[in-house]
C-alpha cells in the first residue's frame, strides 16, 4: 500500500516534517528530525529509482482524479535520477550541518534553519516529481522562498543583500514562468504537461506559443543561473552558510536545468524547441560564453567560495552545452555531468565549510600552509578539484569524455577544443588554492588550526567517495543517464 503511494510520500514526508521541526524547541531535536527525514527520503529515492528501473515511467493521480482534471505525478528515469541527486546531497549534508550551523548561525536561528531546509527539500522534490505545469510553479516558489531565507542566514551582512538580490531576480524569473504557463494554458486549455504536449501541435505555429516559449525559457534560465542571468549566484553562494552553499550548489540550479529539460522535451517537444525556435544555437552560444567567461573570472577570485560559485556558472555551461546538442548522446552527457557536478560541488563547498570552521576565513591568502594542519580536508579539496578539472579516473573525466564524444559525433570539433581549454582554466584556479595550502610557508597563527571534526569530514569524504567510485566504474550511472535522456527525447519524438 505504501509502496504504491511512494511518489506522493516522497514529497509529502519532508513537507509534513517541516512544521513538526518548527514545533521542536530544542535545536538538537530539530536536527535529529531533519536528519532522520533526510535519510528516509534517500531510502525512498532509491526505492523509487528501482521501481522506475523495473516498471518504467510511473504515473500517480493525486486525489484519484483523472489526468487533465487533477494533478498528476509523473516520474521517468530522468526524474528518478534527479530525485536521487537531491536526496543524496540532502542526506549527506545533514550530519555535516550540525557543527556547521552551530558555528555559522545564531543559536536562535538553528530551529528555523532545519524547517527551511526541509521546505527547500520538499520544493525541489516536488518540482521534479510533478507532471503539472502550474504545480511546478507552486513548488518552485516553495523551494525559492525557503532558499532566500537559508541564504539570508549567512554570517555576514552581505548575506542579506545577496538574498535580496536573489529574491528579486528569482521572483522575476518565477513571474516570467507564470506568464509563460498562462499563455500556454490560454492556447491549449490544460495544465497537464502530457496533455499540453498532445494539444500543442495544433496551435504550435502561433505567435502566442512562441512568446510563451520565450518567457518560460528566460524565466527558467534565471533560476538555473544561465549566463548572463547568473548575477545572483556568486553572491548567494559566497555569503550563504557553507552547508547551504553545498546543498544549493548541488541541487537548486540542477533542478532548474531539469525544469528546462522538461519544458523543452516533454512539453514543447524537440521539434518545436530546436527546429522551429532554434533554441539549440542560442543555448550553445550562451553555454560557450558561460564556460569561458566564468572560468576566467573564477581565476581572479581570492575568496574560494566565490571562486567555486563562478566555477558553478561554468559547469552549468557544460550541462547546457550537452543539452543544446539535442541528441541522445548530448543530453545524456549533460545529465551525467549534472550528477557528477552535484557531487563534486557539494564536496568542495563542504570542504570550504570545514576550513571556515577552523580558519574563520576562506580567502586564499589566509590558507598558506593549511595542508599540514588540515590534511584530510585539503585532500578532499584536491580530490574534488581534480574531478572538477576532469582528470582521468575521476567522475569529472567521465562526463567530459561523453560530452566531447557527443560534440564530435555532431561534428562540433571546436567544442572539444573549448572543453580542453576550459579544463586548463579550471586547473589554474584549483592550483592557486593547492599552491597556497601545500607549497607556501604557514603563517604565524597557523599552528593553532586543527583538523575539522569527523562529523564534517566523513560527509565530505562520502561525496568524494561517490566521485571516485563513478570515476572507476561509471556503468550504472551512465546507464541511468542514458535511459533518462532516452525517455526525455523519446517523448519528444512521439
Amino acid at each position: 500500500m505504501l509502496l504504491s503511494n511512494l511518489p506522493a510520500l516522497q514529497v509529502v514526508i519532508p513537507l509534513v516534517s517541516a512544521p513538526v521541526c518548527l514545533l521542536l524547541r530544542n535545536p538538537r531535536h530539530a536536527w535529529a528530525c531533519a536528519l532522520i527525514i533526510s535519510w528516509l527520503v534517500l531510502a525512498m529515492a532509491l526505492l523509487l529509482l528501482q521501481q522506475v528501473y523495473t516498471l518504467g515511467t510511473i504515473s500517480y493521480a493525486i486525489g484519484a482524479w483523472a489526468t487533465p482534471w487533477g494533478i498528476e505525478y509523473r516520474i521517468d528515469m530522468a526524474g528518478a535520477l534527479m530525485i536521487l541527486i537531491i536526496a543524496t546531497v540532502g542526506a549527506v549534508t545533514m550530519p555535516y550541518a550540525w557543527r556547521n550551523i552551530q558555528h555559522e548561525l545564531h543559536r536562535k536561528h538553528t530551529g528555523v534553519y532545519y524547517t527551511c531546509y526541509l521546505l527547500c527539500l520538499t520544493g525541489l522534490l516536488g518540482i521534479v516529481v510533478t507532471g503539472d505545469a502550474f504545480n511546478l510553479f507552486v513548488f518552485l516558489e516553495i523551494s525559492s522562498l525557503s532558499s532566500y531565507v537559508l541564504i539570508s542566514l549567512g554570517p555576514s551582512r552581505r548575506a542579506l543583500t545577496a538574498a535580496y538580490q536573489y529574491l528579486v531576480m528569482g521572483t522575476i524569473g518565477a513571474t516570467f514562468i507564470l506568464i509563460g504557463i498562462g499563455l500556454l494554458y490560454m492556447m491549449t486549455g490544460t495544465l497537464n504537461m502530457q496533455d499540453i504536449s498532445q494539444r500543442l501541435p495544433e496551435v504550435a505555429d502561433t505567435r502566442t506559443i512562441r512568446v510563451a516559449f520565450a518567457f518560460v525559457t528566460v524565466g527558467v534560465s534565471i533560476k538555473l543561473a544561465l549566463f548572463p542571468l547568473h548575477i545572483w549566484l556568486p553572491n548567494a553562494y559566497t555569503y550563504a552558510p557553507s552547508v547551504v552553499s553545498a546543498f544549493m550548489a548541488a541541487t537548486a540550479t540542477k533542478v532548474g536545468v531539469y525544469v528546462l529539460l522538461r519544458f523543452f522535451f516533454t512539453l514543447f517537444g524537440l521539434q518545436f524547441s530546436f527546429n522551429a525556435m532554434h533554441v539549440g544555437e542560442i543555448l550553445m552560444l550562451l553555454a560557450v560564453a558561460a564556460i569561458l567567461i566564468a572560468s576566467l573570472v573564477a581565476i581572479f577570485q581570492d575568496n574560494v567560495k566565490r571562486m567555486l560559485a563562478y566555477s558553478s556558472v561554468a559547469q552549468i555551461g557544460y550541462i547546457i552545452l550537452g543539452i543544446s546538442l539535442a541528441t541522445t548522446a548530448g543530453v545524456s552527457a549533460g545529465m551525467l555531468h549534472l550528477f557528477n557536478h552535484a557531487m563534486i560541488k557539494g564536496a568542495l563547498f563542504m570542504a570550504m565549510g570545514c576550513i571556515f570552521l577552523r580558519l574563520g576565513s576562506v580567502e586564499i591568502h589566509n590558507m598558506h600552509g593549511l595542508a599540514r594542519q588540515m590534511p584530510w580536508t585539503m585532500a578532499a579539496f584536491v580530490a574534488g578539484g581534480l574531478s572538477l578539472i576532469g582528470v582521468p579516473l575521476t567522475a569529472g573525466f567521465i562526463s567530459k569524455w561523453y560530452l566531447v564524444n557527443a560534440a564530435l559525433t555532431d561534428g562540433y570539433w571546436p567544442l572539444a577544443v573549448l572543453i580542453l581549454v576550459s579544463s586548463l582554466l579550471a586547473l589554474i584556479y584549483i592550483w592557486r588554492v593547492v599552491e597556497a595550502a601545500y607549497f607556501h610557508l604557514p603563517g604565524a597563527d597557523m599552528h593553532k588550526v586543527r583538523e575539522a571534526p569527523a562529523s564534517m569530514l566523513i560527509p565530505t569524504w562520502l561525496l568524494i567517495g561517490v566521485n571516485l567510485y563513478v570515476g572507476l566504474d561509471a556503468g550504472l550511472i551512465t546507464n541511468i543517464a542514458q535511459q533518462g535522456a532516452a525517455s526525455l527525447l523519446g517523448q519528444a519524438l512521439q
Binding site: 521572483t171 513571474t175 498562462g182 494554458y185 490560454m186 495544465l191
Partner: protein, 118 residues
C-alpha cells in the same frame, strides 16, 4: 478593428505589467523594488483572470437558471498566486528591514558603495 477591440484588455494589462517590471529593475530603493514586484505580479493576475472571462457569463457558482459561467480554473490558479505574491512581499520586506538595520540605508547604490569599502 475587431482585432483591436478583441485584445485591448490584454494590451492594457501588458502596459501595467511592464510598469511594475520597470520599477523593479530601474529603481534603486529596495522598498520600491518590492512594490514593483507586487505590481508586476498583480498585473499578471489580471491577465489570467481576463482569459477566464466569457462574454455574458457569471461567477462560477452554480445556481438554478444560469447556464454560462466564467472559467473557474484560472481563478483557482490566481488564488494560489496571490498567496505566493504575499509570501514574496513579506519576505522581501523583512529582508529590507534587516538590510536597513545592517547598512543604515535602503538605497541600492549606497549599499554598493558600502560593500566596495569592505
Amino acid at each position: 478593428m475587431t482585432e483591436l477591440l478583441g485584445h485591448y484588455n490584454y494590451w492594457i494589462v501588458i502596459i501595467l505589467m511592464m510598469t511594475g517590471f520597470y520599477i523593479v529593475i530601474a529603481r534603486p530603493n529596495l522598498v520600491k523594488k518590492v512594490i514593483g514586484l507586487f505590481i508586476f505580479q498583480t498585473s499578471v493576475f489580471i491577465l489570467f483572470i481576463s482569459m477566464a472571462k466569457i462574454e455574458g457569463g457569471t461567477a462560477p457558482i452554480i445556481e438554478e437558471g444560469l447556464s454560462v459561467y466564467s472559467n473557474p480554473l484560472p481563478h483557482v490558479l490566481i488564488l494560489t498566486a496571490i498567496v505566493v505574491s504575499l509570501a514574496t512581499t513579506a519576505l522581501g520586506l523583512a529582508l529590507v528591514v534587516r538590510i536597513q538595520e545592517a547598512y543604515g540605508t535602503s538605497n541600492e547604490d549606497d549599499i554598493h558603495v558600502q560593500d566596495e569599502e569592505d
